[in-house]
Structures are given as C-alpha cells and as structure tokens.
Symmetry: C2
Subunit: 510 residues, 2 copies
C-alpha cells in the first residue's frame, strides 16, 4: 500500500521543478503554445471558480457592485497618467490592426486595416474606469462609488511561470471613489482585512498584512498595502494588494464632484486586486511530495468516491451503493454549503485512480469495493494525513452512515489543521535576531530555504531608501511590508543606525 | 399617481430609439469611448451574472467541465482552418506589438517591439481548444471530452449595437469531442434543448429551436442549430447556436484517437454558445414603454424596498421595519434560492426612486412610509401589472406578513405570466397563410412590425438555395430555421414549386 513521493521530484530536491510537477500531475494547467499564456484545466480552473465565488460574496457584502469594462484601452488614455504608465514599464500587448487577409495563399495582417489609434489590451483598468467615474460623478451624494470587475488582463512578462506570472491572467479589480481621504483610506484598509481573512479562511494560507515601502508602491499610488504569504521554500508571495491612490488619478482623469458646500473637489480613489496567482500560492503553501492538498473550502470536489469497478454485472450494485452515499453527503453541509462529492466512474483500475486524486489533493477519498458495499462500509483516505506511523498509506474503514455523520466536521477540521500547519511554519520561519548586514548575508546564503527576517528601520525615503534597496538587492532580498500593529523591538534602524520607527519584513520573493 | 410612459419614446414610435432609451434609463450599459465596446453597469451586468450562474449549473449538470484557454491565438492556428477563417470575414483584432515607449514626450508603440508572429484576439476558440484536444486525446477511453469556458471574445463589427452586436462581448463556448457521429449529434441536440429550456425558463423568452439552412451554418460546421426569439418589433433574434462540426475541425487539428479496434479515427466535435446578446433579447422581449421588466429568476434584486425617508429621527424606526421585512423575505425561497431583496437607502425622494426601479424593471417594488410602518403594512407595486383599469398606478396595501407569505408564489406567478404573454405574441405573429413571393412582399411591406412567416420548402442546396436567398434578401428577409418537429402543411415548395419536405421560418433579423 505504501507509495511515498507520488511526484518525480521532492520539494527539498528542487522546489521549482517540484512546483511544475504538481501542476502537471494534478492536471491544474498546461502550456498553451501561446507565449506566456497557460490553459487552466478543470481541476485548476475549478479551484479558481471556488475562490471567485467565495470572494465575490465578500465583495458584494461589503457594498461593491460588479460591472464590466472594455478589454481595450485607447493609447491616449495612458498618456494622461504619466507616472502610472512609467511604472508599468510599458510592456503591454497592443492591437494595431483589425483585419486579416489572404495573400499569395497565406493568411496575413491586412496593412489597409490599420487602426487610427492603437488599442492597448488592459494591464489594469484604472484609466478606463476612472474615465467612467468622471462621467458618473456629479455631487457628493453620488459618493462613494464602489465597483468591482472580474476580468482577464495582459502584461507582457519576459519570464513567465504558471499561475505566478503569466502574460494573461484572471483577476478581480476593485475601484472606488470617495469624498475624502478618511473614507478612502478606510476602504483601502477594509479591503486589506478582507483579503487577509479570505487568505487565512478559505485558502488556509497564513499571511502578513501591512504597508509596502515607498519603492514598492503601485505606480501612481499614495500608499500600497499587501498580504504576503510564505511559500515552502521560504520565499514571499505577494498575494493581494490594496492601494490608496489619493487624488492622483482623480486629477489625471478629472474625477470631480460638488461637495456639501457647493465647491468642486477631486475625489479620493482606491484600487485593489487578487488574481489566479492565488492558486500558485495554494500549491506552494499546501503541496507536499505526493502532490497538491486543496483546502476543503476551495476544493472543487471535497470528497471523491472511487468505486473499485471490475467490469462485471456486480458493478451496478456497487455504483448504486456509492450513489446512496453521495446523496446522503450532499444533503449534509459544511461551511454553509452542500458538500461537493464526485463519484469517479471513469474506466481504469482503482489504484491509479486513487493516486490521481491524491496528486490532485482532494481532501477525502473514499475507496469502495464489493466487500465494503456488502458490509455497508467505506474505506476513507485523508489527504492531509496520508501515511500512518508505519509509513504506509493510512486508511480507515467505517460504517457509511458514520462517515456521513462526521464528514462535515471532518472537512472543517481538515481546513483548520491545514491553516495551523502553515501558520506554525510561517511563525517559525521569521527570524528577528539578525542584527547587521553581515548577519543577514550569512543567514540568506547559509540556508537553502531561509525564510524571512524582520528588522527595525527608520522608514527612510528618497536616496536613503534607494541605498537600502541596493544593499538588499545585492543579497537578492526585497522589503515585503510593514506588518500591521507591529512595533519596533529596538531603538535603532538596522540600516542607518538612526532611530527605528517600525518593523519591516525582508525576504526573497516571487 | 399616474405617469404613463416613463421613457421618452415608445416602442410603437421608434423601436430602435426605444431600445437605446431602455438601456440608458434602466442603467444597463453605456458607451465606453472605445469603439464598439460598451460598459456593462451593475444592473445590466447583474442580469448577465444571473444568466451565467443559472446556465453554468445546467452546463455542469450535463457533464461538462469549465476550463480557461488563452485570449490570444497565433495567426498560424487560423491558417489551418481555411473554411472557418473564410467564414469569419477576417475581421479580427490583431496584436502586433508588445511595448509602448516615450518619444518626444508622446507615448507611442515601440517599433522595436514587433511580435514575430501576430496574435489574434479570439473571435471564438475552436482553433486553440482543438489543438488542446489533439494533445489530450489518445484513446476512445478518453472520450467524450466535454469542456466549456466563460470568456470575452472580439469580432471587429462595423456596425455595433449595445448587447446585440458589440466588438467585445462575453459568452460561454462549449466544445466537445466524441467517438462517433451519433454521440456528437446527440450532444448537439442536447445542448439545443438546454438552450431552449433555459430561454423559456429563466429568461421567460419563448423561442423556436431548429436547424439553420445551409447558407447560415457556422463556418466549417456540418449542421448548425439555433434558438430564435421574436422581438416586439417582429424581428428575429438568434439567441443561441449549437453546431455539429463533423470531423472537419478534427482533420484540420489532428484530433485523433485509437478506437476500440485499435485503429486511428478522427473525433467528431461540437461547439455551442450563448452570449451577452441574451440581455438584449430580454430587453426586447419584456420591455414596455415604462422601461425594462426583468423576469424574477434573473432579476439581480427580485424585490426592492423603497423606504420613504424624510431625513428625520423617525427614519431609523422606518429602516428597522424595512430590515425586518427583508430578513423575513430572505428566509423564504423562490426557484430553489433565497429571495433577493434590496432596501434602497440612497438619498433622494421616494417618487423618483420608485420610477427608477420601474424603469430598471425590478419585479416587485415595496414602498414603505411611516404610516405603513405604524400599521404593519406594506404598499406593493407589481412591475408586470403597473396600471389599474383606471389607468392609474396600481398599488396594493397589505400586512407585511401576508406579503412575505405570498412573495415566493407571486414571483413564480410573475415569471410564468411573463412567459405566457410573450408566448402568446410569438404564436400570434407567425403567419402561415402566405402563398407566394408577391404575398410575402405585401405582408412585409404592409406592416410596421410584421412578425414571421412560415412556409414549406424543398430544402434546396447550392445554386438553387442561393437563388432563394437572393429573392429573400431583396425583401430584407432571412431564413431563420426549420422548427423541430414541424411537418410541411402543403406538398409544394414555396420557392421552387417542387415537393415540400419541411417548414422554414422567414423573418427580418437582428
């Protein structure tokens, strides 16, 4: 029964190769043949659909309405927002023509069909949504405007990696306009909390929420906040961002209103987003050397029933038994929703099918053979505790009604245990006893997966900050964020020796 | 209380202007400033979200899995499928560059950043999904492959109209591969029934399902089926299509498998889709001179409570009363889901707010003032029967608990009545007593909104069909489809005088 390491490579051997192996073996996604774009297969896209459904509910409950804005943005819209476009490094897909034609038997772009103005495929939608806001907004009574869209965006990345950095990706982008800084900053922080709770809830992925340093701000933003998750190789993954844009975009796009005194004011705006990158975060937070583990709340199927079919007439009774169990499970509910249960009826032997679901990371697998059915039993495998103390595959036989009765609590428990396990790792892998650059260098060069380091600093700006960033860059490190609510433990800035005002997290990052 | 015709123009005066007025007054969508692309605002996008949610359930229940494929398709992929690309008239958005740059203070496309191979923004995804199928498919055991994606697509339309024909639109596209023609044709027709039932169910929009004539087939298809809905100006709207592609795409894309005898065979494929065009169909099926009427199953809010706020301290008690009613309504369910209820707390007078919701077409509006609250009453307005026999706005006062008790049945009844009303119109507006081209001409030129005409024909092909199409084109008519299960009423073809084999529907169309 024992088959450790269902994947061809372990996390310890080569984390990057392991990541690719999980994506392939769990049928999450594949290369598309189109540069930098992937195909999300049903299990990978199913996880994204769950993320989308659960987060969309939170976005709506907090007063935002979904809209849909155009894929294409005229080049001139970007010219208005110089700082924004500068920051985006201008790597964008540009539509210049609108027709193909046949020429000497070959299909070519028709040079006659050149657009008067090139259209940029949206890398983000501040410019086009801001233009709409400027039309919608007249009076303070129209505020706040709070919209969100689920959409695909394109950034022409030179080096791509599935889910983490693809030329096209799926995301939600929220955009809001407010009467004053107080309201806009409250919104920015509300969303930061929503992202943190969502990551730590449905994704079971512990994160540190906090403000990014000046050099890591979104182009054009006054303040950028992020949630940062720690992957199992110790690198940080920026998993979501929330930006207070001040009046910068409002000035550029003329988002104005008459205030309570009848004076014209520029609105204060925010924007915020999470993307399919979260799926990459889930893989690198929860995967092990047997493949992925999907937290029950976002698993497309929470329980997979694998009947041990023999292509004999007895199969019919076995499938009927499985169907009875599935029906009883669907009538139960976990996390306020009906359980999601699949009977895997595909042809093939039970063993490879079981390992297929282990690699995909279905939280609970039920193997049911003729003998189980005769004895009204099921044999349960928990993905989160696959092996017993003897190193062999741990399975547990029980009466099917007993399983149905405990399934909701079990899924709830698995969700919690997955979070706790990842949280313990995060806490253990943040060091705060490094006192100087030499020590920092020794730490990061002395360990394969060195985690993060927290230091106190004086929050330098301008050239002083640039110098710090350069020092860190030499160690391949970046400043992740200033954790909310954390006070400096010492009085001295790690970098300048000046007075410390806050803590910052240093890490290698995706 | 009476205020007939909340819109500035009636259907009878100018149907096209009325359509635009509904979209504007009901805040469904607006021009974006980007050629041919619209912005879907919360109420319009909310209707699409409901359509998407309900149809997605049906798609999954019938065994399809959602995936996501790239937005960009390399030009060379199209070259493989000559007939397909020919049919698409080659009007597509083409990405040729991947970078912008600053030049003399202006943002321009960087000529250095030209792509080696142009990328087409998908107009539909047969080519890229077929290429994936060819990788996924090895053996008959892998069949059927049944996938669906929700995505945006772009077709460079010269003349656009909101929801009906936009350069970018949202849709679902299903793609399947099967072992043989029987299975693939069964799938094609299963989907046709699903679309018909979906249109006639949640959209309350009666349709005629049937096969399109040869000249109206999807490029590359062996057979194309459609559902056709009748708009209130008598024009037909093709509201969904299901295509049997035979082995044409399989040959072009090498979608092959080893059959049960070990021989290589090409798969039989299908594709099918519906789009945001359905929202246009809902508008032109159910709208009236006061705006939109949204069928309860797809209404983002089924019941809107308008408290008559006075900006006095009494408002608080009034809002608490509204909240109590809302909570009781949400605990009830209609169509197997909790009721969707909004309390409209926005500032403003109750009268204009009421008419705002009338124009948006919320199925039930509750107006609640201080006196209602004191008497535990609500005042109900039904959007589907807005005026009484006296021509005045019909409202009905009742105890709030009585309303809560009857709300689910009332929504169900409204849904049914809306369908029946549209069905009666469809049935009344299909004539089958026109016997020759002169009669056809007289009918279509003699009436502002002439509906459809059913005739018997011999199902001509090739040149004979072309001649028929030309004759109809002169009358601005097209052949919509051959209604399923309809037999010819006569023995003679309307066009050729030869033997009739089936009925076809003739209509002007969107």
């Amino acid at each position: 029964m024992s088959q450790k390491n269902a994947l061809p490579v372990t996390r310890q051997e080569d984390f990057a190769a392991w990541y690719q192996a999980v994506i392939q073996e769990a049928d999450l996604a594949e290369e598309s043949g189109v540069r930098g774009c992937m195909i999300m297969r049903p299990w990978g896209y199913g996880i994204w659909e769950r993320i989308q459904m659960l987060l969309d509910r939170k976005i709506k409950e907090s007063g935002h309405e979904n809209c849909y804005f155009p894929l294409f943005i005229p080049l001139s819209y970007f010219a208005k927002e110089a700082e924004h476009v500068e920051g985006f490094a201008k790597e964008m897909a540009v539509v210049t023509h609108h027709r193909l034609k046949m020429e000497d038997g070959a299909l070519v772009v028709d040079p006659e069909a050149k657009l008067e103005e090139p259209l940029v495929v949206r890398p983000t939608s501040e410019t086009v949504i801001g233009t709409a806001f400027s039309r919608w907004l007249q009076s303070w009574r129209d505020l706040p405007i709070m919209v969100n869209q689920w959409a695909n965006v394109v950034r022409w990345e030179m080096r791509t990696r599935m889910f983490l950095r693809t030329s096209e990706f799926l995301w939600q982008e929220g955009h809001t306009a407010h009467e004053n800084e107080t309201d806009a900053m409250a919104e920015t922080l509300t969303i930061l909390q929503m992202y943190r709770d969502f990551a730590q809830g449905p994704l079971a992925m512990p994160v540190i929420a906090g403000e990014k340093p000046e050099n890591e701000r979104f182009p054009g933003a006054v303040a950028t906040y992020s949630i940062e998750a720690m992957m199992q190789d110790g690198k940080a993954l920026q998993a979501g961002t929330s930006h207070y844009l001040g009046q910068n975009f409002a000035h550029a796009q003329n988002i104005r209103f008459q205030d309570r005194e009848g004076q014209f004011q520029f609105a204060h705006t925010t924007s915020w987003g999470v993307s399919t990158r979260l799926v990459g975060g889930v893989i690198m937070t929860h995967g092990d050397d047997d493949g992925l583990k999907v937290p029950p709340q976002i698993a497309p199927h929470q329980i997979v029933i694998v009947p041990m079919l023999r292509e004999t007439p007895e199969d019919e009774a076995l499938l009927a038994y499985c169907a009875k169990i599935r029906t009883a499970l669907i009538d139960a509910s976990a996390f306020g929703e009906p359980l999601r249960v699949l009977i895997d009826k595909k042809p093939g032997k039970a063993g490879p099918k079981r390992w297929g679901w282990v690699k995909k990371g279905a939280p609970i697998i039920l193997e049911i053979g003729g003998r189980d059915a005769a004895g009204e039993q099921v044999t349960m495998i928990r993905r989160d505790s696959l092996y017993g103390e003897d190193g062999r595959l741990a399975n547990q036989a029980m009466h099917w009604e007993s399983f149905v009765g405990q399934a909701p609590a079990l899924l709830d428990q698995i969700q919690t245990l997955m979070f706790c396990s990842a949280k313990a790792r995060l806490d253990a892998e943040i060091r705060d006893d490094v006192t100087d650059l030499e020590g920092l260098k020794a730490h990061f060069e002395g360990s394969k997966y060195p985690g993060w380091v927290a230091v106190d600093w004086c929050r330098p700006t301008g050239e002083a900050l640039e110098k710090v960033v350069e020092q860190l860059k030499a160690l391949k490190l970046t400043i992740r964020n200033t954790p909310e609510g954390s006070a400096p433990a010492s009085t001295t800035c790690f970098f300048t020796g000046g007075p410390a005002v806050e803590r910052v997290l240093l890490a290698r990052a995706y």
